[in-house]
Symmetry: C2
Subunit: 326 residues, 2 copies
């Protein structure tokens, strides 16, 4: 099996790469070759038992996509995007990378005259307020309130149409917000959801820009990689024509997140969260959905983290070698 | 008031032009100038009391849009598109005209640094089966099953995002199927909905390619022009961020349409309909929605035809000078 990861240098891309190197297979099929690309050159895993090619490539350049699919990878993970804050700040860059880049990829696959499985990372930002009082159903309309969400929604529509026409075998995944993201904060408005767990566990103060009652839909990086792997192996006929799937998540309020952190790591760690309301962040977050039915994803076999404490523990295990600063 | 109609040579464009020439005003404001463009040169009305400029222009050429908005029309009606059958048959042409053309227009408006009201004609083809058992609600998801529907859905998303960013003041209208279309059949899969009324009234046999139980959502050309005029004058604040509106229509089955034709024009006229099932047409139609709640459009003051007989009578009045072949 030949796999291509576009956006391989990002957090999820790196974790997916690590998992594929560790497993040596994808849904039971042996991996022979893995191509890793990103605007910054991705790091190839040292322990892979298969061929790995890592290279810098900019998908928003019209010629890039044809080169990436020239050797006809069987499975393509398209994770490349600029995040919501940056897409909101730089309108042209957002459309160039998040929309045009994806369209170039779809066209290159069509022109290559073969039909790979394409797993595309979309986002719950395709939805926008006002939401129903209960969990958002799978058939809720696409009314994004950010350019990022708009670009993801458009790519979903393209993915479904190219799949319907038989040009690609696409699956779009509406990821929950990924928490706890390791490493340095990124420009996403959702960054604090990770920061208030990650920084306190490192002995560092974290700023909480929204109220404790903010409710959101989360998945660990470990669960996110699981979603991608599962999507790569799904039977297209079972998915049907609605190719974009809202994934399962853990529904929590910020207050419940802090309680979960206390349970796993204690009062002292949780006391490192400082409340400093930021109306700009609150405004963006208020346009986001809080929780989903995600029925189709469960029927298709996707599985969420057990609860928020499991998300905190996964972070401590996967990123902190099992320990934290008490 | 300076008005631009893109797609002015099409059926709705011509009827909108006629109405503006007749009224001399748009929602009470006097019209000073009307620009008409289409790929084929539109015909300027002879009786207009204001300046009219008619010219051929291809919106899918990247340089066209900037020229069209150079004089900053206050209201732009963007009606230009290739129809569903053609967009399905020619994938590249569909995306070039129905998607890229609209995107060029939005960008040109943004670059012109002013904020006109842009009325965009979308379609109920943005929705796709399976549908709820009851009427489709306003917040139903966008899962088109044609390239045409996909292109319209993408343009809706762009229109909403450009409006949200303050680059344009857009309103997207999801038109019911327009019946009775005058003139020759076009390539739309929905063509028979007009044909089975128009041809029999002209003494000509019409072919019905689907069953009598097919249910659909219709508006007369007269109502369609009314929708466009109403949309041009809507208060943007009243619309809110969800800029794309499912319009009200008349819900009928093909059997009820034939009954309506009988009531208005008699048995002999209705007997000119010949049943000749076409599985290809039936397949396309089966992916279309049957009826809508359209609550928001009614709240915003859009009004449908009274019933299907009113649609037949409007055709006889507006297109046949009050008579038909008995």
């Amino acid at each position: 099996m030949h796999i291509l990861i576009i956006g391989a240098a990002g957090m999820i891309g790196r974790k997916l790469t690590e998992r594929l190197a560790r497993d040596g297979t994808l849904n039971g099929l042996p991996i022979e070759r893995l191509d890793l690309v990103d605007v910054a050159p991705p790091t190839a895993p040292s322990d892979a038992a298969f061929e790995v090619n890592a290279a810098a490539a900019d998908l928003s350049e019209p010629a890039t996509a044809a080169r990436l699919v020239a050797d006809k990878p069987d499975v393509i993970f398209h994770l490349a995007a600029i995040v919501s804050g940056e897409a909101e700040a730089d309108f042209d860059k957002g459309y160039r990378i998040n929309l045009d880049g994806t369209r170039f990829l779809l066209e290159a696959i069509r022109r290559a005259s073969y039909v790979p499985r394409l797993v595309f990372t979309s986002s719950i930002a395709v939805f926008g307020a006002p939401f129903p009082a209960s969990r958002v159903p799978d058939d809720f309309n696409l009314t994004p309130l950010t350019s990022y969400g708009t670009q993801k929604a458009i790519c979903e529509l393209l993915l479904a149409d190219y799949t319907r026409k038989g040009f690609v075998d696409g699956v779009g995944l509406r990821f929950p917000t990924i928490v706890v993201r390791p490493g340095a904060p990124n420009k996403a408005a959702s960054g604090f959801f990770s920061g208030i767990i990650r920084e306190p566990l490192s002995g560092i103060e974290a700023v909480l820009p929204v109220g404790d009652d903010v409710r959101h839909w989360l998945a660990s990086p470990r669960a996110a990689v699981g979603f991608l792997v599962h999507a790569a192996g799904l039977d297209g006929a079972a998915i049907g024509p609605r190719r974009n799937i809202t994934l399962p998540g853990v529904e929590v309020t910020v207050g419940e997140m802090i309680e979960g952190l206390k349970k796993v790591a204690g009062e002292t760690v949780a006391s490192r969260i400082r409340r400093e309301p930021d109306p700009a962040v609150s405004k963006i977050i208020s346009g986001w959905p809080e929780a989903f039915e995600a029925k189709r994803s469960l029927e298709l076999g996707f599985t969420a983290d057990a609860d928020f404490e499991a998300i905190v523990r996964a972070h401590i295990e996967d990123e902190r070698e099992g320990s934290f600063v008490e």
